[in-house]
């Protein structure tokens, strides 16, 4: 009885020797052994299992291989079968198998979420669009539209290109929804556009997850599922949040992300407003000798407006001494929801083009940017505002006034931007 010593370092040679010893291996088997070798040598899990299981071998190896695992005799006709047996038992492969069942389960769930989003969208469109034919086909065409991001090998001017691409897509969707029903008002239009974006995003997530899973399955390349498994909980959190956001968008309720516009919107009440840039409202008020420029997206439509363009125009015509941005921010695990924090820098999410533009304007004109953020989860940000967040509105407003007094002098001008989706929040 000889004990085979499987050491991590010599594992590769052991397998290569086994490949040479077994003359009747066909190409497919050799390929399989190679892939097995790759898995083993990269992960070392096999070696760990062998050491843990205290593997022994006995008998004439030319006929049948007898192995003792945990004291029990296990006959295998080929070494390959034994390798497969141990490999199958490894923690590594167990985890992979778990991923392989987890992925389709999430994939099925995504399919359900897409179907639900589509159904809600089509029902809403049928109710609100003055369209003679069934809009289902047209809507399904929109869902398959994709956006090709500009090439970033030369990053010079990339922000302009991204902004152009994203805005072109938004304009295209808006114009085509409007073409279905020219009499549609801006609020309904913005809601349909948002619902379209939700259904389209869910479809895209499902396509990516499904592609990774099916490729791994087809090529028997299970490690390919691992990165998907790692990001899948985050993707599912986003997908479920988007699904939960549909009723709020349909009924025009304020979202968690709307806390910034809610704070600024109340400050704008009973003051003359003007539309300074696309879907963005401006009001000017005086506060303790300071001139305040209040900016928010034009509510109660579901839009985030274009605060960067608005700031550009304000700065072009006025001398601005400070910018204060109020926005919802993603909370970290362990942080309390609806907690308020103050800081420096542009508090604005999205693809990054607006943030870039605001930072650029501030830098060129030497304007400090202060920010107040209200922490919340992804789900809270895009679903109906929670009581805790709504209750913070007055506190945030008083902090804004405090910040103005702390950082500016009488006679100076401040731009206050309420960043976020302004669904259900007028001004």
């Amino acid at each position: 009885m000889n004990k085979i010593s499987f050491k991590q370092a010599s594992l590769k040679e052991n397998f290569q020797q086994e490949k040479l010893l077994e003359k009747d291996f066909d190409d497919k088997e050799k390929e399989f052994l190679d892939s097995l070798l790759y898995q083993v040598t990269t992960r070392y899990e096999f070696a760990k299992v062998l050491i843990q299981k205290n593997v022994w071998t006995a008998g004439d190896e030319s006929e049948a291989f007898l192995y003792f695992i945990d004291g029990k005799q296990q006959p295998f006709q080929k070494r390959r079968d034994f390798a497969v047996y141990v490999f199958e038992k490894s923690i590594f492969i167990k985890n992979l198998k778990l991923s392989a069942t987890y992925c389709p389960r999430c994939s099925e769930m995504l399919v359900r979420l897409i179907a639900s989003a589509k159904k809600e969208l089509i029902e809403y469109a049928k109710m609100n669009l003055d369209y003679a034919d069934d809009p289902t086909k047209k809507i399904e065409q929109f869902l398959d539209y994709f956006t090709i991001m500009p090439v970033d090998m030369d990053p010079n001017g990339i922000v302009e290109k991204v902004r152009h691409t994203v805005r072109s897509r938004e304009d295209y969707t808006r114009n085509h929804v409007k073409s279905l029903s020219p009499k549609l008002n801006e609020i309904e239009l913005s809601r349909i556009q948002t619902l379209l974006e939700i259904a389209s995003s869910l479809q895209m997530i499902h396509k990516i997850v499904n592609h990774m899973f099916l490729t791994a399955k087809k090529q028997k390349n299970y490690p390919l599922i691992l990165p998907v498994q790692m990001i899948l909980p985050f993707l599912m959190e986003h997908a479920k949040a988007m699904d939960a956001a549909i009723p709020a968008f349909k009924t025009g309720q304020p979202l968690g992300d709307g806390i910034g516009p809610m704070v600024v919107g109340k400050m704008m009440l009973d003051v003359e407003k003007e539309i300074i840039s696309f879907q963005t409202a401006l009001a000017k008020i005086d506060y303790k000798g300071r001139k305040l420029f209040l900016l928010k997206a034009e509510g109660p439509a579901s839009t985030v407006g274009r605060p960067d363009d608005a700031l550009q125009k304000i700065v072009h015509d006025n001398k601005i001494d400070a910018v204060i941005m109020i926005d919802a921010a993603l909370k970290m695990e362990g942080e309390d929801s609806a907690s308020v924090a103050r800081g420096f820098g542009a508090a604005i999410g999205g693809i990054g083009t607006e943030k870039f533009q605001i930072e650029h304007i501030a830098t060129q004109n030497n304007i400090p940017i202060f920010s107040i953020v209200i922490k919340q989860s992804v789900k809270e940000a895009i679903t109906l505002m929670t009581k805790e967040i709504a209750d913070q509105a007055d506190n945030v407003r008083s902090q804004v006034y405090e910040m103005i007094l702390e950082n500016t002098l009488e006679g100076q001008s401040v731009v206050i931007i309420g960043v976020g989706n302004t669904s259900g929040v007028p001004q």
Partner: protein, 60 residues
């Protein structure tokens, strides 16, 4: 976490009387938007406007 039980969110509207500043909580109804004039105050003859709209989670 992903496959946890379903929770229902109930939407509420908080109205604030401009005269007596009393708050009144009612179910959200479609068409409610923040800061809009809502209804007559149940305590005085003042007019209320919508102060807050929020959701509360009902756990089953």
């Amino acid at each position: 976490m992903i496959f946890s039980k379903e929770k229902t969110t109930l939407a509420y509207t908080i109205e604030k009387c401009l005269k007596c500043e009393k708050l009144h909580k009612r179910d959200f109804s479609e068409g409610d938007i923040l800061f809009a004039i809502s209804s007559k105050c149940t305590f005085c003859d003042g007019i209320t406007n919508i102060e807050k709209i929020f959701g509360e989670i009902l756990e089953r």
